[in-house]
Subunit: 334 residues, 2 copies
DNA sequence: TTGAAAGCGTTACCAG
DNA sequence: CTGGTAACGCTTTCAA
């Protein structure tokens, strides 16, 4: 059965024309006029053989691709981000880009950059933890290999790359402001012990610190693993911490912590106000209803347009877009 | 600055050797012995120029790739699946495959298959909703374009493709058995109104139906959208439904429904038992604690090995693997 | 309107 | 041990 894969030459042979003609017909090349009967014969032959053009050969010849490369996330991101990436996917498809998520399991920044560069994508879109690891050297590797645009999504910018800044400090800032406005002065900030979350948690902590600056409030870092035991232990020594408010990193950690506090008999919000982030459905279902920070990410379309602009004008100096919107959503837990 | 992208010829020139030698050195070809000084010169030149091999050219020459193509999910999947895919990613990398997630936003099954075939991947791994849309024709397109293995993950098998069956009916079956064992006889099954979830929800419903067969229990389909309004309306007419048990699709819908029932003064589990699925953390945090179905997916390593085997022996007849494990986790809500 | 030929970057074969 | 050369599949320029 080892029938080999049909090429455009096979199609040409079957249709009784040259390879060039096949290419013209199949690509609807407008600068050349091909008779309708010929077109039909070519298409028919292609269909019959199950011919599919070879992307590698095509892009080799063309000297460029329409690929947008995104490293696959290592840590399960929040649903917020999954949604954004789906949108982005769609929007880029509409601009005729092919989105490729590329895994780089356990590679260093430079190795990864090399691996990505081998694919000669038109653009590389990297985010959060990755942007930290990519670095100016990685960007340089990519640029030298012909990548037209490198865009980093996330906390910080990287030398030489466009940046779509999603400053997580704003989230912490928002939560801090809200807790302070509620009169809380001894504020804890949950920092998840799960690896890979530091890219979010540390800036959020920093944001709360900034909010507290000059207010006399005291900020305490509170490590917490995402399991009931850890939460129970934390709740057990809660009173000694003497905190009257806590920003729990996100809604899920907030739920975990709030339950543990309640089980320990600690009143929420009377004794301790609890605030989450992400505005997930679950926050509305808890009792007391969870106050949270709603995070507005850019739309997929906006992001796609930034990518497209960068690809079309590779020479342009790196742009910096600040795109993260935050709104406090006060409910019953604060 | 339009310095063009360095090729192996450039490296050869700079190192003062032939292109072949460059290739030998950079690929550590063992069948040829190259002197150490030469090797050093070549590597040095490559580094200096920032040379990165061109994947398209390489695979064109080689006639095959080590790419495993997975369509990017359209609907935000449960964290369970995200975790599996991360593992799979890793495991495939260890087997020297490159995982590529490929978006096919809004394309029909055949268009999508064509688009994937253009990349000439070694294997295509498709799942759930996609497998339904791919179909025997799509599999054929892929096979004819040289894809060595097509593997579908999900509910059903597709003609000509290997199948890793994750029969969601087993989830419903397990929930149904548990509710019946608790003496419930009028059982509701939540079917989310969100599009894209039918691939999971309908088989789960079917599974409950099967569990009930011959027991005299009555199964009622209960549509529910993932918002508080929908849940409140449902709870409002709950007593008329006269259900004494409900399988709520998953833990998140279960949480939503349970809250609405409680707000309506309906006792859980006395009046109505509520069961979720997925065994998320949140189920343990609810009061009453949520009974659920723990779902055991195959490990990423297992899956990767199935893929690898299929790629190495493309001629082998399609295998069918049944891999979904379910265990009831009885807690307080049933 | 169609065909011949060159060339994209790589690697494998075969002489030197 | 090293260097030329051909070939992978495709598009495009030029010539017929």
């Amino acid at each position: 059965m080892e029938r080999s894969v049909p090429t455009s030459a096979d199609v040409a042979r079957l249709a009784g024309v040259s390879r060039a003609t096949v290419s013209y017909v199949l690509n609807n090349t407008s600068s050349v006029r091909i008779s309708e009967p010929t077109r039909r014969r070519v298409r028919e032959a292609a269909r019959e053989l199950g011919y599919v053009p070879h992307a590698a050969a095509r892009s080799l010849r063309a000297g460029h691709t329409r690929m947008v490369l995104m490293p696959a996330p290592e840590v399960v991101a929040s649903p917020l981000y999954s949604g954004l990436f789906n949108e982005l996917h769609w929007a880029l498809s509409r601009l005729d880009y092919t989105v490729v998520q590329f895994g780089s399991a356990g590679q260093s920044g430079d190795q990864a950059a090399r691996a990505w560069a081998e694919l000669r994508p038109a653009a590389v879109l990297t985010y959060s933890t990755f942007s930290a690891r990519l670095g100016a050297r990685g960007v340089d590797v990519l640029k030298r290999s012909g990548v037209r645009a490198v865009i980093t999504l996330g906390q910080e910018r990287t030398e030489g790359a466009h940046a779509v800044l999603m400053d997580q400090r704003a989230v912490g800032r928002c939560a801090g402001d809200h807790l302070l406005a509620r009169g809380r002065r001894r504020i804890g900030v949950v920092v998840p012990e799960e690896p890979g979350l530091e890219a979010y948690s540390l800036p959020r902590l920093e944001g709360v610190r900034r909010a507290a600056q000059g207010t006399g409030a005291e900020i305490t870092e509170v490590p917490l693993a995402y399991d009931e035991g850890s939460a129970a232990r934390l709740a057990g020594r809660w009173r000694r911490l003497a905190l009257d408010g806590v920003f729990a990193y996100n809604d899920e950690y907030a739920m975990l912590l709030m339950r543990a506090l309640q089980d320990e008999g600690i009143g929420v919000p009377d004794e301790t106000a609890v605030m989450g982030a992400d505005d997930l459905m679950l926050g509305r279902l808890l009792r007391p209803r969870l106050s949270t920070v709603r995070i507005e990410l850019p739309s997929g379309r906006e992001l796609a347009e930034i990518v497209d602009r960068a690809v079309r004008d590779p020479g342009a100096p790196p742009e910096v877009h600040k795109v993260l919107g935050v709104t406090p959503v006060p409910r019953e837990s604060t």
